[in-house]
Symmetry: C2
Subunit: 470 residues, 2 copies
């Protein structure tokens, strides 16, 4: 490692290469169980050229490298072992330009999401990606993990908001593909390789982001519903009635709704907690007055049709914020230990059966279990939190099996928006066929023949490891 440190110092400057306690005192994750960085060396490049120089050194030495953004990932995708070099993008933190007419922003990869959001707002525009970690998560990390969030139903995933990017390949080659147009069919769309591949195919250094018109109206409501069929019909009704403005449709199963609207949670229930499903629905539009009328009319129609049993509309920004605080009060889950949190994807038509079966199986195995389900229904994305009821050393793998295995049969996915990282690697084969996994490995071997980029994340290069749970 000493030779590599020396070569890195030569390549990017001594002040850009940290070792010893400068590295070991750093936190390895923005939340979850506190732990520090285990790697011994951390490089802080100031430019894409620095990233290229550092990777060229690592490539020459066959030295594994793990890129770090805001460390807000949830699947151990940025975990670096003792023998790995961390490449932190923290100094690539400049917004390079905003084009208000073309509605694009050119940024370095280490800019925090919230900084991007704020800079767009200064131009009357919006970068629609939004998630709880906005203050720490970087847009480079958002792109590397194809982050989702609360507005996917309207604006898509991060993949849909990146027009161009620059990435450095394992061998230090800079591939600058900084397209700034919505349409560009000049050959292969190379950026797709780097978006969502969790730092295993290249290190993203710059991005061209697509901005949107900033909405001038926000209408938010909670509704209570009695059947899952009503939930899907309500989604259909609201989408149809609101034209293109439906921007969030978050469903909370009753147990989670009760958890986040009863003490010790500070929120009070905006609609009755006596119904099996509650939905947070939001529209973002262009004319506050008429949008509010339309939103209320759509809810009234839903009540008249019997789709919803109860509804409450946020009448002020404070009320709307309080409505979102209910949805986002995931901290209430931390009262349950151990707790296993999942992010899965499945067809809406399978959801009710999937959750009911899971509840039955959990009840049979752990009578005192708690099951909390909520998610982005329109996207087919559920978050599932499970407390087995008592400390049980084997509970994690048993619970994982109950959550993940049924997804294979119904064409679901073990990861909707969190990625695979290390945490879900053992279950990737449930969501992807052997032919898909073989093609992923072929891409990895082609772009990173020495396997130095975030090695062991998503899948192992040998077939055996990804095919069975560890």
């Amino acid at each position: 490692m000493e030779a590599i440190i020396a070569a890195l110092r030569q390549a990017v400057g001594a002040d850009s290469v940290l070792t010893g306690s400068d590295v070991s005192m750093r936190s390895a994750a923005a939340w979850g169980t506190p732990r520090n960085v285990a790697a011994q060396v951390l490089v802080r490049p100031r430019s894409a050229a620095d990233v290229a120089a550092a990777l060229a050194v690592c490539h020459a030495h066959g030295q594994p490298v793990v890129a770090h953004g805001g460390l807000t990932g949830l699947v151990d995708g940025a975990w670096a072992e003792h023998n790995e070099v961390v490449l932190s993008l923290e100094r690539l933190n400049q917004i390079e330009s905003v084009d208000p007419v073309g509605r694009t922003m050119t940024v370095q990869a280490g800019v925090p999401l919230q900084t991007v959001q704020d800079a767009a707002a200064e131009h009357g525009l919006m970068f629609p990606l939004d998630l709880g970690a906005r203050g720490s998560a970087t847009v480079g990390g958002n792109a590397a993990t194809n982050a989702g969030g609360n507005r996917v139903i309207r604006y898509g995933m991060t993949r849909d908001m990146v027009l161009g990017l620059e990435a450095v390949l394992a061998n230090g080659t800079i591939v600058s593909s900084m397209n700034s147009m919505v349409k560009n069919n000049a050959g292969y769309d190379l950026k797709q390789l780097f978006i969502g591949s969790e730092g295993t195919l290249g290190v993203i250094t710059r991005l061209v982001l697509r901005l949107r018109q900033q909405p001038s109206s926000q209408d938010t409501a909670w509704a209570a519903l009695d059947t899952f069929a009503h939930v899907t019909d309500f989604l259909d009704h609201m989408d149809r009635s609101l034209g293109g403005t439906l921007s969030a449709f978050e469903v909370l199963w009753q147990d989670y709704y009760r958890l986040v609207t009863s003490p010790p949670a500070r929120s009070v229930p905006p609609v009755s907690a006596e119904h099996p499903y509650c939905v947070l629905v939001e529209a973002l539009g262009g004319e506050p007055e008429s949008d509010a009328q339309r939103f209320e009319a759509a809810l009234t129609q839903a009540l008249e049709k019997g789709l919803i049993a109860d509804a409450a509309i946020g009448k002020s920004q404070a009320e709307r914020d309080a409505m979102w605080a209910i949805r986002d009060d995931v901290e209430q889950l931390l009262n349950f230990k151990p707790l296993f949190l999942f992010d899965v994807s499945l067809g809406i038509k399978h959801m009710q059966g999937y959750v009911d079966t899971l509840a039955d199986e959990l009840a049979a195995r752990w009578p005192a279990h708690r099951l909390f389900v909520f998610g982005h229904l329109g996207d087919g994305n559920l978050h599932v939190a499970i407390h087995p009821g008592a400390a049980d050393p084997d509970a994690r793998s048993e619970v994982e099996d109950l959550v993940y295995r049924p997804l294979q049969r119904i064409g679901g996915s073990v990861s909707a928006e969190h990625g695979i990282g290390l945490e879900k690697k053992a279950y990737l084969h449930l969501a992807r066929s052997p032919a898909e996994l073989a093609l992923m490995r072929l891409l990895k071997q082609t772009l990173d023949p020495k396997g130095i980029l975030n090695p062991g994340k998503i899948f192992d290069l040998s077939e055996g490891c990804a095919a069975k749970p560890t």
Copy 2:
């Protein structure tokens, strides 16, 4: 070739392998200069397994293969030489299923776009891709070329409407990646490799398409504008005022507007032809009455603000259809021979300067030239039609130079939505850097090591050919 024909017959059945006049009588393109298929052999697989078997034979023999969809491409991307085998997807023409709750449709690659649109409409849903060739173009071809069309500003390109797909690799391996969910971050998003790569990395056999709510309102208008700054401000104003419902914003420079609203064209001008720019704007929404009010109010505001000089709203479906017929009357261009038609992409902020410079240079070179410009402004996509004025054998390459070369400096693209094929291959290097081209070649060599899939399209495998015009 006889050995290959025999092997293909053995692999997929004799009735699925056409030769002789059964092939040579076939048209090679749905429009443009009439010419017949030059290839001697055409395979018509009935299934993905047939496609795999046929490709395995061709791979074993190093036999080049060109996949055929609806043959409506505009860049000679499906041209097959005498020594190439055509793989027509025409028998893969089944809609396999529609999921109205999950809003997906599973189709074989050879289904025509219009058939997909109609099937979605039967369920009250919409497949938003739309383009003039809808009756002939297949969804497999749309995906292979990442087709755009008139609604990209709202719904994106084909890439944004494909959730999953199945493709057969050059060696006959079937990679089924039939994801049906909006969110699936389980490893690399393999479908991106095959979308927009023009049949050079694999043959698409099946797709899962994302459907949307069918709009219940359509509001359409023509507006006349006096400056290009007004055009961009008008786009901004309409997008802001219409919330999420703005679905088309088509700009016609004056010469094209006059061409399609004067005899021999059958349309009459809905707004005065005395202004330098005319815009066709459309919103698709959920409530006919209030949407119409809002649309008219937004136009009235634009008039009051002085953004637009004149406007006309379509008051019936017939009037709206007539408004679109003006935009789509590209046949008027066929009165000019020779005529060179381009599809380029550039930042909106560069558009006016680009078109003005082009007009000046054309005028200097060919005083009697005609220049017609129109396009999807919100997407940065212009269509440019140029008639040099007189027959001139060297005109094509000179005109191509005038159109394409300035794009390099301003970060534009030589192809917005038509692709590269053979026609634009010599200019690809103006839109892509050497590092990008090298990475494209690496992908091609990895997925198709023998170079049998649509060889010579987009780029040549040796570096020299793509770097200079032929």
